[in-house]
């Protein structure tokens, strides 16, 4: 048996790097901090791979079932013997998988940023906060209990805030950072109350106890009911609100598109591959309870995922900022993962959706990070985010072109690339459990292929734009991560998830469902074909379509005005109609009332000025006798 105690170093190394760079970063050349951060992450990644190898292939499996292993544990706060908060590391299939995802993507982003961020003011700060983020995210997935998860959840939020507002001289970046923090914090209130309820019902924070399918936690909670749903359902729904906030589910998604104000490598790491899937991870973490004692909550998760994925895919079709297209695409894909959890049952083949969700999380991390880093290379070359400033770039950026094309084919679900396998499993799970959600996802599959290839053709094909200087390919340090992730995108679909990551830890077997797979590939190809006709050469078709479906087009272009609604509520209602009047009320009514009492007193005192002798003894005498009289009245006359 191997001792997994060392796993605590996987998050600790990045935080030490953060402290080291933060405290000494100004003393040496900025690029050194970049190397230090990268080196730290490399160590964490090596440890994670080693852990994954040991866990999956050596010791994780006991009698055919993957166990939950506590690698390291320390008690932080103790309330009672059963209720205490620990900090530690929990190893099970999903946490180990997440370790691999996070360290891989984070390492690639670290390497990539050596080129992308070169010469930026605040280079050392960038690497310091990147390390802080890696620490928080690793601590989040390794959490042994829901409270530890909440702690790191918030830390992830702060790192994200600091990275989005990295260019703090730019007002839009600062506003976006704040928006992301506040919207997710709003959701986190739900999370916190949910945690309190859950611990109240079950008497524990511990994941191992909570998610034991034969444990007491699962059995309780069905008892008391509120508004027709069990208390457990409410608790889980509140917790899900937290997850929906972080994972940008409709209608808490408004921060994600704005978060694109951050540096592009950050978008790749945080807003595509790792942090935004924290909500999915949270539901997966508590999946046993969701599935066994609150199926209604799980169903809601599925519908929220489905709606989000359709909503975001429609918007992605009309956006012109390449990063925003990718942001909406991320939302849509995370919607897929949520939906997959929503249509899953517990145990064996019933748990297909669960497995598919985790599978898609893995493959999506690879190809979406690739897309973002590719977008970074494009932006690096043409100094613009806007699709209308791009065209014909395949001649100038050959490597970026190839890797970007691979990513687009992967997300469109073209076999045998990884996206095909994972998306197919989700569609099968949906097909078997909920035909309505299946229909939505089927449609989204077509839309995805369409908007991705709209982007691809617009950027790499079509006419050359007027460039200030000929766009040049990114340096090798940026190309290496692209190539690495491209390879991962191609091959990660062959990882046997059905025997590694399942809802109950036991392996199961599924064959390919051709009845689902063939149509889904076809609709993807149709999407690509339409994009090819529309955008490979400039045509008038898109404009015509836009004017004939004017309402839909305008709605989509303006993201269905959700931002405007929020803005209206906060600025016009909360700030102008609540905050301001209350401030006035406080100043004039409450304070005014108190002042007018003082005024009356003053007036009275003018009249009885004669009593003012200036003699201290007299005041003291009056004061004391007054008190005594009052006390006397209280005690003897009122006699209560």
């Amino acid at each position: 048996m191997i001792d997994f105690g060392y796993t605590i170093w996987i998050p600790l190394i990045p935080i030490l790097m953060f402290l080291f760079i933060g405290l000494t970063g100004h003393k040496y050349k900025p690029v050194i901090s970049g190397y230090l951060g990268t080196l730290g992450l490399l160590t964490s990644a090596a440890l994670s791979y080693y852990t994954a190898y040991q866990y999956f292939f050596n010791v994780g499996k006991v009698a055919g079932v993957y166990e939950k292993i506590i690698g390291f544990n320390v008690t932080w706060l103790r309330f009672t013997d059963t209720l205490h908060i620990d900090l530690g590391t929990l190893l099970d299939p999903i946490s180990v998988m997440m370790l691999v995802v996070i360290t891989t993507i984070s390492l690639m982003v670290h390497i990539y940023s050596l080129g992308y961020m070169k010469g930026e003011k605040g280079f050392a700060r960038f690497y310091a906060v990147l390390s802080l983020f890696s620490f928080s995210m690793l601590g989040l997935v390794l959490a042994t209990n829901i409270f530890q998860m909440y702690i790191f959840w918030e830390l992830v939020g702060v790192s994200s805030y600091l990275l989005i507002s990295f260019y703090y001289e730019k007002p839009s970046a600062v506003a976006a950072g704040k928006k992301a923090f506040i919207v997710t914090r709003f959701a986190d209130l739900g999370f916190l109350i949910g945690i309190l309820m859950l611990s109240f019902i079950t008497g524990t924070f511990d994941f191992k106890t909570l998610t034991d399918p034969n444990g007491a936690a699962i059995m309780q909670g069905g008892s008391a009911a509120f508004l027709g749903l069990s208390v457990m359902t409410w608790a889980l729904l509140l917790i899900f609100i937290g997850g929906a906030g972080k994972s940008a589910m409709f209608p808490l998604h408004i921060w994600l598109p704005d978060a694109m104000e951050g540096p592009t490598p950050v978008s790749a790491l945080i807003h595509a591959a790792t942090m935004v899937v924290a909500g999915v991870y949270l539901v997966a973490r508590l999946f046993t309870i969701f599935a066994l004692s609150a199926p209604v909550a799980l169903e809601i998760v599925g519908y929220v995922g489905g709606i989000t994925s359709l909503f975001a895919a429609v918007i992605a079709c009309t956006q012109n900022d390449i990063k925003r297209v990718l942001a909406f695409s991320t939302m849509s894909q995370i919607g897929y993962m949520m939906l997959a959890l929503g249509v899953s049952g517990y145990g064996g083949e019933e748990g297909l959706g669960y497995m598919a969700s985790m599978f898609h999380l893995f493959t999506h991390a690879m190809f979406k990070a690739l897309l973002f880093l590719g977008a970074g290379a494009i932006i690096h070359a043409v100094h613009s985010n806007n699709m209308t400033d791009m065209g014909g770039l395949r001649k100038y950026l050959p490597w970026t072109n190839i890797t970007f094309l691979i990513a687009c084919l992967t997300i469109a679900g073209v076999p045998p690339l990884s996206g095909f396998w994972s998306k197919d499993e989700i569609l099968v799970a949906a097909f078997e459990h909920n035909k309505f959600l299946f229909a939505i996802e089927f449609l989204v599959a077509g839309l995805t292929a369409f908007y991705m290839f709209r982007l691809y053709f617009n950027v790499f094909w079509g006419k050359d734009r007027h460039y200030h200087h000929a766009p040049h390919e990114a340096p090798p340090v940026m190309l290496f991560p692209l190539v690495f992730l491209a390879i991962a995108s191609i091959f990660s679909g062959f990882i046997p998830f059905t025997s590694l990551v399942t809802s109950d830890g036991e392996a199961f077997h599924v064959g390919t469902e051709w009845i689902v797979a063939i149509p889904s590939v076809l609709i993807g190809l149709i999407g690509i074909a339409i994009a090819w006709i529309f955008y490979k050469k400039e045509t008038a078709i898109p404009d015509k379509l836009a004017s004939s479906f004017k309402l839909l087009y305008k709605g989509s272009l303006n993201k269905f005005y959700i931002d405007e609604i929020y803005l209206f509520v906060t600025k016009k209602i909360i700030f102008a109609l609540i905050s301001k009047p209350i401030a006035w009320f406080d100043r004039h009514v409450i304070d005014g009332f108190m002042n007018s009492i003082a005024f009356v007193t003053n007036f009275a005192s003018e009249k009885i000025k004669g009593m003012q002798s200036g003699q201290l003894q007299q005041y003291a005498y009056v004061f004391v006798s007054g008190v005594v009289i009052l006390a006397f009245v209280f005690i003897y006359l009122l006699k209560f």
Partner: protein, 486 residues
């Protein structure tokens, strides 16, 4: 023993400062005196930890008239608040070194006198002694604000004075009433008071009197209107004393008197008291959003945080009381930090208006980092001090009533809203004329900020020490609240 020495020592230093001629050494003497006081209280802490769980007492058997004892005793709650007092006072004194104050000797003597009274309040084991110190603390702060305050100082201090005096009078009446019921030979000792069992109706009146007295001090909505004016007109050191330490007297009083003396009234009225506190949290957070002057902003944000503490005390569960004690310490540290940040900004720009500031982060990056750390402490980020306190408070309030906990939770969101927005306008964005020449922190400022940052993370990362000290007191108080009269 040490407690008595501490009080007498502070009194002597204060008198000495009054007596000395004005010179540039005054500041140094005051600083050294307060540091020595901190040293004594650290010694007290060690003595306390060795003797745990018994309490340190000091009872020189003088003044035994009418059952009044000069009795001081230290339990976990007292020692924590005394440490807060003696920890913050040297920092407050040091933070004023850059300012040119008129009549420095009086200024520093009053600060030390204030420190003495506060230590007395937290150490007293006799109700009348508590009351005397409680009132005594009012006098130095009154003069500090009136003599060194800004615009309208006289008028505003008068308002502050009247407000608190009304509260004090009500409290005195309640104290005398309970005194008259003490069993055997009447006595003001805490223990005699705790032995009084009041009827339900009497409890309601005593509760009301104490509630108003402490609600004014804390302040709880709607007894708070003295606070923004007073904070904004007081010299920054005065605001630090008021918000950092003095308002803890009210919270301390709630725990010491209201919970043990009025358990039945707590059952009847506690809900409404929590409700008022929570209304205050949301109300003051919403107002804070709209404030332009930084000091008023800090006043309202402080009121929101303190409201949560008060709500936790009224909830009276084990977790909420533990949370309230740890949060009292954290709030003192954080609010000092915020006021000092304000002081630094005003020193450089002569301007405390949020709208005329901006772009400080690019001019003074180290300052911006410290500012951010203190801000994170204030919005209760995990691993900072207020997170521990606010989480325990939320947990306790949730145990009391889940709906109230939900509304109390708004402090988490609104706190982030107003704090981040303020930070955005002050530190980010374009450099404004006022911040054109903003230079980074000086060594002296860093020396003051570092202990604050250390405490923010110490309590945040390893709160067990503080919770362990507070635990016996909380258990004791809870056992007393379970006594129900027939």
């Amino acid at each position: 023993m040490l407690t008595g020495i501490l009080i007498i020592f502070l009194f002597i230093v204060s008198l000495l400062l009054f007596a000395l001629p004005n010179s540039k050494h005054i500041k140094t003497i005051a600083l050294l005196g307060s540091l020595a006081a901190f040293g004594i209280s650290i010694a007290m802490l060690f003595q306390f930890l060795n003797d745990c769980p018994c309490v340190l007492t000091f009872n020189p058997d003088i003044l035994q008239v009418l059952g009044i004892n000069f009795k001081l005793s230290i339990d976990g709650l007292s020692i924590l608040l005394i440490l807060l007092t003696t920890f913050l006072t040297p920092l407050i004194i040091f933070s004023s070194f850059e300012n040119k104050r008129e009549k420095p000797r009086a200024f520093y003597a009053l600060i030390l006198l204030m420190e003495m009274s506060l230590v007395g309040v937290f150490a007293a084991s006799d109700v009348l002694l508590f009351y005397i110190f409680y009132e005594l603390a009012l006098i130095p702060i009154y003069f500090i604000i009136a003599l060194w305050g800004g615009k309208d100082a006289k008028k505003i201090t008068l308002k502050f004075f009247i407000y608190t005096l009304i509260g004090s009078l009500l409290m005195l009446v309640a104290i005398l009433y309970v005194y008259s019921l003490t069993p055997g030979v009447h006595s003001f000792a805490f223990n005699s008071f705790y032995n009084v069992i009041l009827t339900g109706k009497a409890q309601s009146w005593v509760f009301l009197a104490f509630f108003i007295a402490f609600a004014i001090k804390i302040p709880i909505f709607p007894f708070h209107t003295w606070q923004p004016d007073t904070y904004s007109t007081a010299p920054t050191q005065g605001s630090m004393l008021l918000a950092g330490i003095m308002l803890k007297m009210g919270l301390y009083g709630l725990i010491r008197f209201v919970l043990p003396l009025c358990p039945v009234a707590m059952k009847d009225w506690g809900f409404y008291a929590i409700l008022l506190s929570i209304i205050g949290i949301i109300y003051s957070s919403l107002i804070a959003i709209k404030q332009n002057e930084m000091k008023r902003f800090i006043a309202y944000s402080s009121m929101a945080h303190v409201g949560l503490i008060a709500a936790g005390i009224f909830a009276g569960t084990f977790n909420s009381l533990e949370g309230s004690i740890i949060q009292m310490i954290s709030h003192g540290i954080n609010v000092f930090g915020l006021f000092f940040i304000y002081e630094i900004i005003v020193r450089r720009t002569n301007n405390g208006n949020i709208s005329s500031l901006g772009g400080i982060a690019s001019k003074a990056p180290i300052f911006a980092i410290f500012f951010m750390l203190i801000l994170l402490g204030n919005i209760a980020l995990p691993l900072t001090n207020s997170f521990v306190g606010e989480f325990l408070l939320m947990l306790g309030i949730f145990e009391y009533n889940a709906y109230l906990a939900f509304f109390a939770g708004f402090t988490i969101i609104l706190g982030a809203v107003y704090m981040l927005w303020m930070y955005q306008r002050v530190a980010y964005g374009e450099v404004k004329p006022a911040t054109e020449n903003f230079h980074d922190l000086t060594k002296q400022e860093i020396i003051i900020l570092i202990p604050i940052i250390i405490m923010i993370f110490w309590i945040g990362i390893y709160p067990s020490l503080f919770l362990k000290i507070a635990e016996p007191v909380v258990r004791n108080i809870i056992s007393m609240t379970n006594i129900i009269p027939n």
